[in-house]
Symmetry: C2
Subunit: 322 residues, 2 copies
């Protein structure tokens, strides 16, 4: 099969070995997949991952338990043991025995076929296009902000970073009715915010005041946390969504002095994401900058690394409703 493989270098492999499935697993043929900042980090050595990349996808089940065959699905990325204290406590995304699709110990979805436990799958409603459904995984991660940090309309909230994750988080937060601003340095994505009805502020025009109840850090850069700490009010919350490639971060004295709460946030509820896409509470089509066939994956990765592109997709199988 065709696959996008990372093992110290990134390469397209036209003749990769097909995966086999175990009891309870499904074999899925991805139609469309998304490239995320984590994929870019992985190609720089994050997690020491080697194997097939990719963890955002929509595809069709081609083999596995009868109930699933032929279904169009999105897939949760954490493959868990369902027995450990974390799993039994309902925190299975933190299962210490987990493998993670395309990130940790398990091949990803930038390939013609992928094997995954059927418990990871969510059927995609017919009314969603593949171009919408491919956003379910990152949109679920955006919804995780609300799981960990309840937000209501009385609160002032800023999102720092208006890239692919920031734009999803912004749209999720907009559904709460909170007083929301988007802070970024990319004129193109700030304009997109404005079109989405979200007040954009260019970072050069920002007067940093510590008056936000909540600041969500989505820049993927250590500077983002520094800025977030200058915007959050004492006893407020900074939600950290992005991991950094580097180590250096700002002095954390303001965290102590202002008794700030920093909340790390990762994978989220797929149900919320599917529902939001189905009722069009979140608009993703305008976020798609480029779509490449899987053969052109290296070009696609280059494109995804450029700040003028928002979401870059890989077309693998034949898309539905495209």
């Amino acid at each position: 099969m065709r696959a996008v493989v990372f093992d110290s270098t990134l390469r397209f492999d036209p003749h990769h070995r097909d995966p086999s499935i175990e009891e309870g697993e499904c074999l899925i043929r991805p139609s469309l997949a998304g490239i995320c900042a984590t994929d870019l980090h992985l190609t720089r050595g994050y997690m020491n991952f080697t194997g097939i990349l990719g963890h955002e996808m929509v595809g069709v089940v081609v083999d596995g338990p009868k109930d699933w065959r032929g279904k169009r699905v999105a897939a949760e990325i954490n493959c868990v043991c369902r027995r450990c204290p974390m799993c039994t406590a309902g925190l299975s995304t933190h299962c210490p025995n987990r493998t993670v699709m395309g990130i940790d110990g398990r091949n990803g979805c930038f390939a013609d076929l992928i094997a995954l436990p059927h418990q990871n799958l969510h059927a995609v409603p017919d009314r969603l296009t593949d171009e919408q459904a491919v956003f379910v995984e990152p949109l679920a991660a955006a919804y995780q902000v609300l799981v960990q940090c309840p937000i209501d309309k009385r609160m002032t909230v800023s999102v720092v970073g208006t890239g692919r994750l920031g734009l999803l988080v912004l749209q999720v937060l907009k559904t709460t009715g909170c007083q929301l601003t988007a802070i970024g340095r990319n004129h193109k994505t700030l304009l997109l915010c404005e079109k989405m009805g979200i007040q954009p502020i260019h970072v050069d025009d920002l007067v940093a005041q510590p008056d936000r109840h909540v600041v969500v850090e989505c820049t993927g850069s250590p500077d983002g946390l520094d800025l977030a700490l200058r915007l959050v009010q004492p006893r407020g919350t900074v939600v950290l969504k992005s991991t950094y490639a580097g180590d250096a971060v700002p002095n954390l004295a303001p965290v102590v002095v202002n008794e700030v709460n920093i909340v790390g946030s990762r994978c989220g509820p797929f149900g919320e994401a599917l529902n939001a896409l189905a009722r069009e509470a979140v608009e993703v089509r305008s976020m798609i900058s480029r779509t490449f066939s899987i053969e052109r994956a290296l070009e696609a990765f280059d494109a995804a690394a450029r700040p003028d592109n928002v979401k870059v997709l890989l077309k693998i199988g034949s898309p539905k409703n495209a």
Copy 2:
């Protein structure tokens, strides 16, 4: 009056100008004062503070409103406006208009006299010695951990750092009945933990497992946060009590991946601290390593910086019950 002054260098000034008091303020004659890690940081340039140092004390009111004259008192360090949104929301320690005794914009208590608003004062019960009462301010800061992070006896908790602040936090946490361990590198203070009935672990003997519900960081060093992040379980909480002199801190990717909550924590409830000392739930006498007269403040600061000393006190007036 005698005073310990910092203005780019630390010095003892035998002839400093006496403070005057304004309406609503009390003039206090400190009997005994404590040197804290923050004082040491201030002498290295933290907060760009200049003036009389000191924010931990017990003393006697010598002038001011009639109700307060002659009373023995401990004093809250934040002098606040009582009108801003933070003050009216009950978060006056975060008043943006505040000055802070011996830390920010206001002289401290390493002097024969100090002026403070009467609202900052707490009467010290007769049954407490000065040697106990001088710990009220840092003990209140230790109690702030429980204000921000409720802890019960089902929880596993570690305190990283067994210095003066760590030992107070440990004793406060011990009152909850939680499964508590003290992690440090100082054999002397680890022995003190053992005497207090708290399980000590030398950092060289530690097998770092991410299985604590809560880890409280009291080392004052960036390495402390790194260790705390390796000990806290996914979705657990790291309470940051100490500020750092330096900027470099570890990679925060584990915060996101493990969805850890980092809670900055500063000043706390004086009532809880006075009460705990009065009922002897917290033992502080064994923490006093050295006591110097105010004239020997420079020696005292040197002593406070040495890890073999826990709490170093400055004797200013005539101590009661000593």
